[in-house]
């Protein structure tokens, strides 16, 4: 026979996880306070049943894969709307060292990924970082005063930087040594590395002359 209240055991009793359920039941029958609390616990449990399971966004798996793999997905789908000419992604070409420039990224739909982070409102992107969208997400990149680039669903975009007065290309191996090693292996197997200087304006990217690829 209980001489104490059973408040702390009421959930276990409701869930049939209690070894001494008979005693708790007897007490509830005799104690108005515990009976009232048991009804509250039952009501609370019934209310929680109103919480539906939510499907995890597809972008989560994409971000897990990206974190597990050393390079971006093998078959990216490149689609984007240009409003400025400073965004450029070409597989196999290294990115230049550049001053740290950040652009605002705006979530338009879903949860796009900037770098390794999902954004729910706004974020920042720097040179070298990727934006990834899945089938349900879109993002906008505010490129300085030039305009906004919309990144459509199922798209991967990497921000790169180029300057018109560059006259040679070298890998930033200290930033991404694995990329440097992979680049060397590719060249050893016969992949040719070529680089061109570009003249960039708000209206166009114009390919200028070739520059040597160092190291």
């Amino acid at each position: 026979m209980f001489s104490r209240h059973v408040s702390r055991e009421l959930a276990a009793y409701a869930d049939r996880e209690l070894g001494n359920a008979v005693e708790v039941e007897r007490h509830i029958g005799q104690c108005a306070l515990c009976r009232a609390e048991f009804e509250q616990v039952q009501f609370g449990m019934a209310m929680v049943e109103h919480l539906p399971s939510v499907e995890a966004p597809a972008a989560i798996w994409a971000s897990i894969e990206a974190a597990l793999e050393e390079k971006p997905r093998e078959k990216p789908i490149w689609r984007w709307a240009f409003a400025a000419a400073v965004l450029l992604t070409v597989a196999g070409i290294a990115y230049w060292r550049a001053p740290v420039v950040q652009w605002d990224v705006i979530r338009l739909d879903g949860t796009p990924i900037v770098g390794a982070k999902h954004i729910s409102g706004t974020g920042k992107i720097v040179v070298g970082e990727w934006i990834r969208t899945d089938s349900a997400s879109r993002a906008g990149i505010k490129v300085g005063d030039i305009g906004t680039v919309e990144v459509e669903p199922n798209t991967q975009v990497r921000v790169m930087a180029a300057k018109a007065d560059e006259h040679r290309l070298a890998l930033a191996r200290d930033i991404d040594p694995r990329y440097g090693a992979a680049f060397d292996r590719a060249r050893a197997l016969g992949v040719e590395a070529i680089a061109y200087r570009c003249v960039i304006s708000a209206e166009e990217i114009a390919v200028a002359g070739p520059v040597p690829v160092l190291g």
Partner: protein, 183 residues
């Protein structure tokens, strides 16, 4: 062959394949558990999809890199949800004090739900969000995953009595907050 195995046997087979580095098996394991993990994280963080996505990603990355520790399916749920609890509580500690509840929650309610049921669901979400973190995670674990109190005790690093107490108090607080919905 897989079609004739029980769910438990299938899970054990998938886990074993994951331990051997089978990426497809990991994807299968992810697909089995992703929605529950995401849902717990989402409701724990007041509907913040970005945080919930980050926590979910973290959990499965840790799972992938640490799955060699497992000896059998019996331990798997316990370990998985311990990762979930730790990730949620760690992220909560790093956060600023809770923002206004439900402001960022994009309701998963279907279009077929009538207004009254949507209001109830919204109130419940707000009520759960307002629970202290230790009660909130216990309530969400119990609701979304079929763990025994013994398993929950291992997940939450506490005694079964403490599990019972947190669930009792959590549901009681929730009931008090939602008393206006009682018929």
């Amino acid at each position: 062959m897989v079609a004739h195995l029980s769910d438990r046997e299938t899970s054990a087979a998938i886990i074993e394949s994951c331990r051997l580095g089978d990426r497809d098996a990991f994807r299968a394991l992810y697909d089995i558990h992703k929605d529950k993990v995401y849902s717990i994280s989402l409701y724990f963080f007041h509907g913040d999809q970005a945080i919930a996505s980050d926590v979910t990603q973290q959990v499965f990355l840790k799972l992938m890199t640490g799955i060699g520790q497992f000896r059998g399916d019996a331990e798997f749920s316990t370990w998985l949800y311990r990762l979930v609890v730790n990730a949620c509580l760690d992220a909560a500690r790093r956060q600023k004090p809770d923002a206004a509840i439900s402001e960022v929650f994009t309701a998963p309610a279907s279009q077929e739900e009538d207004y009254a049921r949507r209001e109830v669901a919204t109130s419940v979400r707000a009520g759960v969000s307002a629970l202290p973190p230790k009660f909130r995670i216990a309530v969400l674990l119990r609701h979304f995953e079929d763990l025994s109190y013994e398993q929950m005790a291992k997940v939450l690093h506490c005694s079964m009595g403490t599990v019972a107490s947190r669930l009792s108090r959590g549901h009681k607080i929730l009931a008090e907050r939602l008393k206006g919905l009682r018929g």
